[in-house]
Symmetry: D2
Subunit: 372 residues, 4 copies
């Protein structure tokens, strides 16, 4: 058997990376905003008490309460998965059920983090358009959930991904509608805002409107994908969810002892609307691609492009072609490609992607002609 | 009842912090090494695949295999608690027992992280000097542990803290002796090296000698306390422990998507012996304080000062005096003070601490004289 | 707020129960087979070592190896949920996914037992007819499951309910087909045989043919629903699944210290084909009802009646009528009734149920006539 | 490697068991009280709704509220380990610490059940005489426990074993003293009453005095060891602990669907003081042995014999001698033997044990003489 300690040996000499790549693999492939690295470097002065008892972390509490126009608690955490799992563990019990879209990140891409942190908490998929939880589908699930019956998972929370895992954005009305169903049944509302900035930028609303004013109890506030480096955050709106979060994080090894370096990043992220400016750039790139693909024969968007992701259906041969050209993206299936725009996606990348797709179109037409 | 969202309001306006503090609270109160921040900033170029599939992370694998003179797997993680808990989860089962010192960090300061990650894994305290696990005490525990009996926790691993939580350092012989008992009983050996650099610097041995050559299977490789900022690491020597670690980390939200920024730090940390140079400074400061306290009447070291921590027993009134003077440190009990030296502890801090303790000594003598 | 210690006060004076009820609520509402109680009483002699180290439990191992025509390990447990959860925990890891029918008992009726025992293990619903897992649907799920990717739940096992939760029975070929897909992808096959006796009786095959010869690795061997009282069993066919089961059971408080009384019951259950004789009676009652309902206008069976359960679709008013008449059954929804036959279901109960449904039919026709 | 499915093959032909054994191995080696088996058999009539919604279970609620002179909730469970683990899970959080004697059954003999059910809950050993938790030692532990600090296990509950695992009995005053410390620090008090009947019989008090009147919040009510067969119970005195217990039990597969057969046993157990009559017999046997051993040279009781267990220190050769004679008991170490009396321990067994120990004494004297 292979020695697992040699498992990554191939990685040590990665295949030469193209000089000017056209890279739509993920927003986590992008750079950090220089402002955030500068803030981190600026925090490196003097001594500071550990585990969040420092002045920058205290300032972050104040700053986020201003940002959200209500008293909140904010916890810097290492990753969005950690934010989601702890937020849901605070919202549910080990016997609980969390309702989410089948496409939700917690359901598809976080191993079993929700049940790990929750001590058994179950995910239940609910239908809805474009990666959303539909309020009617949620109400229908809850009607037969058997709350109070000891052999049934107890309805506890609903998870909304904003922007969704298919690149769509919940309108304020949509969030409010799900929130109303949730409240009626005693569920907490968790918003997975890994791309919250992209959604708020798209909605043109305030962070408050997008969250607690629409019924959200607790938010995974994404930073990494939108110009951050090593941290995201949990923002708590509903007081009863706050008390155990520090313990959840501490026992999971998620509380940095040199917290000031995390808080510094997050403070810089929300200063002077940096977060929204970064998100607008990514959204604009995605919109440009969507516009550029409009009218190309045989190219269909699977969901409306409202944030920074595009899910594009094409003939498999066309997707092959993009790969052969060296365009970097995630192939979800033979005929489905995901393109994600970063805050630092270049205009040339956008142009080259559109051109490549168009070329595929020409090729296909030529091929079709040749076949006649 | 108080709204928990207001819980930290007081932190927002922290009491004015002294300009030139004498700060021995913890090594996690210190700054990051500028080299590490520079490395992090230098990593902020181009795009890179997420979750550790980048070139810097690949390079880290190679670099650590060189550093430890054997193929290893290294995983960057957010904190030492995460490193410990995952390393032990990889070494034990939910039915398992991990033997450790009563003073071990895993036993005193990580909430219930070991059992959380391990699915129930239990800690069993074993006697030994100065925060160490004694090989004879371990053998005695194992003799009555009832391995194979289904109603007993199954002996699985031993946890050695290097340097210990009382500031002592396992000699190579001591590590080897515990390792031999462990192997004889089928236990894995985990070394909690939150202060591994301080221990290696003190021992003057190679990292290999301090670990796998002495029987260590898996290491929590501390970075944060010794000039790091937001990351530590797990180093795996024994191949069979490696395969599930990626899953353990992923489901705990401990895998950064922009991993390159963590790997860059850790690479800088071990480059040009930075880690050992930093540790030597902290160790030297501690040694200077120990020397300065020698012969002061009524001042006793609880354990030999071999790394960067001092545990000092004094009359409670003397400890009061230090607090009143504004010296910053951790008071473990009425008459026990912990002083931790950082890599950036100033010579003036060392001098001022020694002087303050001495003064306490004078005061006490004067007081004693006055009382006559 | 109500004192929860008074919560069940109403139960203390249950509403008068009808003398000769027509009771199709569940097979767990039935009596125990007198042979089993006699065996339990006969075990009450002399002393016996605890926790399964007694002669009856040893004999049970031998007897089940004979019954299944291969060496097996058998563990008596308190309930079918315990059997399922431990069998799956032995077959999966905390990072694992278990594939099952959406209707599977583990998915609908065991709170979060699978993830509790498995330390996070996830259930994934797979399509199939009548509560079955379809081999093609399973293969399709596995094709996109992302085995080996650290952010995905790792495919671990498949759960087949035999007879299914809709009263159907997997043919040998169907079990074999699912088993083949499972083996191809490295999955273990768990059969939830809460109604295994009913299925074997229906198939007319040997227990071996229904299980390990068709690819089953581990079986929840149901006893309670088919004439048992306080115990079911786990039967292990695949050696690698056996070693940890004793520990799983012990830490869950599922190992009786006076095990002989459980083993005695289970031995009696399989002696002289008692288990099959009991199951045949329940199956026959169900078949009689199915035959009696045939041709009644507006009455449809949702799934073939192959074991002892019937799922019957009728107009809601008709279901109301059955309730008003005092027929006892489980109403799954407005127009869906479940009728379960026990080993001790009386012929009169069968007759009275058919007559009541028929009457509903007449009423409806009369009503229809009256409305003309 | 050996096939684990053959693991128990040797058990199938157990070594011939002596006809009239002298058996002090455990009280779980004894028979069930015939009254309890009769009650179980009598419950086997008609149909009854499952999972505890039957008339016998309702009656058990009423009967136990009478027995304890206060409204209580009672849950029949399979084993004492299940009772302990669920009672503690209801009393603590995953971040919690449960204080117990080092000798406590939960600490020595239940694998990691407490942390499994509690989601990580930690056990902390507290000093005290004869397997008890001492109130002062508990107070001292709590004084340094760091409640509210997020890196410390949060003090949650204290576990008292009554009678203790060394055969001693808490006096009412002792229970009350621990209860007072617990309440002062916000801890719940759990009594592990695996031998509760023996303790109550020894104390001559009411069940109420031994429990809630002395500060006990929740009780594991032992049945199996004192004449039961397949069930114990949890009795809840403090309302806030009740609501989740049904879910804890259900997800652990600990709720029998044919609950009436468990409730019938437990009702019979407390009817006409059966439980106390059985316990008095076991206690009397133990007292007779203690009296018989008094004054035997070289034979020392490790703890006062107040219930039905004796822990006897003797020269190792003497313990060898008892084993050679075929006396059955548990050897805790070379020179420590445990003898447990059952409700059905025969007078001849008592006599033969005393005689054997005496003979050892003679032998030793003779040997000592011979050595002169």
């Amino acid at each position: 058997m292979k020695n697992p300690l040699h498992a990554d040996a191939s990685l040590a000499s990665p295949t030469a990376f193209p000089k000017n790549p056209v890279d739509f693999r993920s927003d986590n492939c992008g750079r950090a905003a220089p402002e955030m690295i500068e803030a981190l470097a600026a925090a490196n002065s003097g001594t500071a008490l550990g585990y969040g008892a420092d002045a920058l972390t205290a300032r972050m509490q104040v700053r986020f309460s201003e940002l959200f126009e209500t008293p909140v608690r904010v916890f810097a955490v290492a990753t969005g998965t950690a934010a989601n799992a702890v937020a849901l563990a605070a919202s549910a019990t080990p016997f609980g059920a969390v309702y989410c879209s089948a496409q939700a990140h917690v359901n598809t891409s976080e191993v079993n983090a929700t049940s790990f942190f929750g001590g058994g908490t179950k995910l239940v998929a609910v239908a809805g358009p474009h990666g959303k939880v539909g309020p009617d589908a949620l109400a229908a699930e809850l009607a037969v959930a058997g709350k109070g019956l000891s052999h049934r998972s107890q309805p506890a929370a609903v998870n909304l991904v904003q922007a969704t895992d298919l690149g769509a954005v919940y309108s304020i009305d949509e969030t409010t509608a799900v929130g109303a169903v949730a409240r009626e049944h005693g569920l907490k509302v968790h918003m997975d805002g890994a791309r919250f900035a992209n959604a708020v930028a798209a909605l043109g609303c305030t962070p408050a409107q997008a969250t607690w004013k629409s019924g959200v109890d607790i938010l995974s506030f994404g930073v990494t994908k939108n110009g951050g480096l090593l941290g995201d955050a949990i923002v708590v709106f509903t007081p009863e969810l706050a008390p155990d979060i520090g313990l959840h994080l501490r026992r999971a090894g998620l509380v940095w002892s040199k917290m000031r370096f995390a808080s510094a990043q997050i403070l810089a992220y929300v200063e002077n609307d940096l977060w929204l400016r970064l998100a607008r750039r990514a959204n604009a790139a995605a919109a440009a691609i969507a516009a550029g693909m409009e009218g190309i024969d045989g190219v269909t968007l699977r969901a409306p492009v409202q944030a920074n992701e595009l899910f594009v259906e094409m003939a498999p041969a066309r997707v092959d072609g993009l790969e052969e050209e060296g365009i970097l993206f995630q192939r979800r299936s033979a005929g489905l490609a995901r393109f994600v725009c970063r805050w630092d996606t270049g205009e040339d990348e956008v142009m080259r992607l559109i051109a490549a797709v168009r070329r595929g179109s020409v090729d296909r037409k030529e091929q079709a002609g040749a076949n006649q």
